[in-house]
């Protein structure tokens, strides 16, 4: 589904990704772990199409298409979803209006009829019920005045409604209390199925207690230095990342 080969990227003159390769197949959940500054969020944002990075080498293909040819909105409509580490507040723009515009952009792209407000509200209400989200979410401005936990839940709500093929969740667990973490994990577990894939970007093993990954990768200095199954996450929790860096050297 998603294949990244030898990806190199930089911001200004600073190299951030340095030959990263990763292949994600349908039905898989991958966890990408690593210390601060290892390039995890950069990878997530490059996949989503952020133009703040210069890709100097390598390629990303998604369903056999060259991802770099697509604009961020085209990537989204093709089924790529980025759950933001820091979801953006857009004061005054109603959450329902925003979500409906997003869903209809995707439906239009897929040749489906656009949804009217009534149909959309039904879907949105089902989703918030499932995610144990306060219904007032829908009437508020996008992330406007939301707590950290509410913002992350809103990301999961968007993912649930947009039904992407691949969801990249960038530190969706950070800043969450244990109850919010469980809600987020529940959302992800209900989302995952044999036809889609999830990439979890995280610092901690904690989230992986609730969402079981098929593969765990350790990212260090811009490339994947180690891959394994979920036991790798448990090991990292005990030993830390320093050892990974040392073994690389």
């Amino acid at each position: 589904m998603l294949e990244i080969k030898n990806l190199h990227a930089k911001v200004a003159q600073t190299t951030i990704l340095n030959g990263l390769s990763l292949a994600v197949k349908k039905g898989e959940v991958h966890a990408i772990m690593g210390p601060n500054g290892s390039g995890k969020s950069t990878l997530a944002r490059i996949i989503a199409g952020h133009d703040g990075y210069e890709v100097t080498d390598g390629e990303i293909t998604y369903n056999n298409k060259n991802l770099m040819d697509l604009s961020p909105e085209e990537r989204s409509r093709e089924g790529i979803f980025l759950g933001f580490q820091y979801p953006v507040e857009i004061p005054g723009l109603n959450n329902t209006q925003f979500l409906k515009a997003a869903l209809n952009a995707k439906r239009k792209h897929l040749g489906m009829e656009e949804m009217d407000a009534f149909e959309f509200l039904k879907i949105a209400r089902d989703a918030i019920k499932k995610l144990e989200i306060d219904p007032s979410f829908l009437n508020r401005g996008v992330n406007e005045g939301f707590s950290g936990g509410e913002k992350k839940r809103n990301e999961i709500l968007q993912m649930t409604i947009l039904e992407p093929s691949i969801a990249i969740l960038d530190e969706t667990d950070s800043g969450l209390d244990i109850d919010a973490l469980k809600v987020v994990a529940k959302g992800v577990n209900e989302f995952r199925n044999p036809n889609n894939a999830v990439i979890l970007v995280t610092h901690y093993q904690r989230l992986l207690e609730y969402i079981e990954p098929d593969k765990v990768h350790v990212l260090s200095e811009g490339k994947i230095v180690r891959s394994g199954d979920k036991s790798l996450a448990i090991e990292l929790e005990k030993t830390g990342y320093a050892q990974e860096k040392d073994s690389e050297k």
Partner: protein, 423 residues
């Protein structure tokens, strides 16, 4: 004397006007005009706004003075159909009698000043205001009786005859709200003239004790038109003014909004939006005169400027020595969506006493790149995302408008204008 307008020609034009009843006013106005200076960019209050284009239009007017036009009332104007209000349409000195009768029933008296027993109280101060009084066909006077609570807004619409080659229009509204009354007024400048035209407008408001007035100015002129409007509000004890201006069109627009706090415990919210594109110039000058204490003024203006549009905001509060416990603030926020867009913004406080609470601030910026990427990452086109973000920024003003029936109309005006601006 104003050098840019020929006084002899102006006097001649004023004398030819049909309403002899207002001759005393015209004589006063002419005399005042003779002694005053027309604004120029050498004057600090006018340094960014050059109105020299109006002199040529006045010259044309003097050579082809306005003719008497028979009553031609029609309600084809979109705004009168779209906003539910008591529409009072004034067309070249004639007033819609039907609506005035309906208003009479709820305690609102509307008449032409020439038909009113009391023809005094016409504000004549600066040169433009004098020019208006000298050349106006007539003025409309609205008197809201004590205790009246109007069920619908009162809409005021001055119409020009589209066949009339008169270059200059002079409109004047005199609004008197007695004590304990509540009324909403919509002042519409929505009639588009596709030729150079100068509208010189004056609005006078006296708001009595414990009264509340909601005032909405809507301006959607064509880009050939110039509007200069002076609004002066005198607030009584515990009076409340909620003023909103919406400026969408015009080649050149200058608004002077003056609020005088003459009695204690009065409150004025003066809010506005302006959206300017290519070859447009919109200038809002606000002055809150806190002559007496325990009064509150709040100014909030939002602007979106594109193309080579240019806007000016000058929001001032004057706190006099006697005005202790005054509360005044001014805020102005601008979104520049093109490289050549320009804003000259100045919130201003002049304070002559202690024990006041005042604040001011201004922002000028572009659309938030993070918000744009966030929306794109959810599948929303970049252009649509820009339009949505811009609209979200500017329609915040709707929260300040307490005339529900007008909100949809304003939102449509804004949406249409932004569509043109962000294409």
């Amino acid at each position: 004397m104003s050098a840019q307008i020929n006084f002899e020609l102006l006097s001649l034009a004023a004398k030819k006007l049909i309403q002899g009843e207002l001759s005393d006013t015209r004589v006063n106005a002419l005399s005042n005009f003779k002694d005053s200076e027309m604004p120029s960019t050498k004057n600090e209050e006018w340094q960014y706004t050059d109105i020299s284009n109006i002199y040529a239009l006045c010259e044309k007017l003097f050579h082809e003075p306005p003719k008497e036009i028979k009553s031609l009332i029609n309600k084809e104007n979109a705004i009168a159909n779209e906003i539910d209000a008591y529409w009072v349409i004034i067309k070249n000195g004639t007033i819609d009698i039907m609506e005035t009768k309906r208003l009479q029933k709820i305690g609102v008296h509307v008449s032409l000043l020439s038909n009113n027993l009391d023809k005094t109280g016409v504000l004549i101060d600066d040169s433009l205001c004098s020019l208006n009084a000298a050349l106006m066909h007539d003025a409309i006077k609205i008197t809201v009786s004590s205790g009246v609570e109007s069920d619908k807004p009162i809409g005021i619409l001055f119409e020009n005859d589209k066949n009339l080659n008169n270059y200059v229009s002079n409109f004047r509204c005199i609004i008197e709200v007695k004590d304990n009354a509540t009324v909403s007024i919509i002042h519409a400048h929505t009639e588009k003239i596709q030729a150079p035209h100068f509208t010189n407008s004056v609005v006078q408001m006296d708001v009595g004790e414990n009264s509340h007035i909601e005032f909405l100015r809507l301006q959607d002129f064509s880009v050939h038109q110039t509007l200069i409007e002076k609004s002066v509000a005198n607030l009584g004890c515990n009076a409340n003014l909620n003023y909103t201006s919406v400026d969408i069109g015009a080649q050149l627009m200058r608004a002077d909004i003056v609020v005088n706090f003459n009695e204690k415990h009065a409150n004025a919210n003066i809010n506005g939006v302006y959206i300017a594109g290519d070859n447009q110039h919109i200038d809002n000058h606000i002055l809150a005169n806190h002559f007496i204490g325990s009064s509150k003024s709040s100014q909030n203006f939002y602007g979106v400027i594109g193309g080579n549009g240019r806007c000016v905001f000058n929001g001032k509060a004057l706190i006099c020595e006697a005005a202790i416990n005054s509360n005044a603030n001014q805020f102005n926020h601008n979104l520049l969506i093109s490289e050549n867009a320009e804003i000259n913004t100045k919130p201003e406080l002049e304070i002559y006493t202690d024990d006041v609470a005042c604040s001011h601030g201004t922002t000028v910026g572009q659309l938030d790149e993070n918000a744009l990427f966030y929306m794109q990452s959810r599948g929303i086109d970049e252009v649509v995302a820009q339009q949505l973000l811009t609209k979200t920024f500017i329609t915040r003003i709707l929260n300040e408008v307490n005339i529900p029936s007008a909100k949809g109309f304003i939102e449509n005006l804004i949406t249409d204008k932004l569509r043109v601006l962000t294409q």
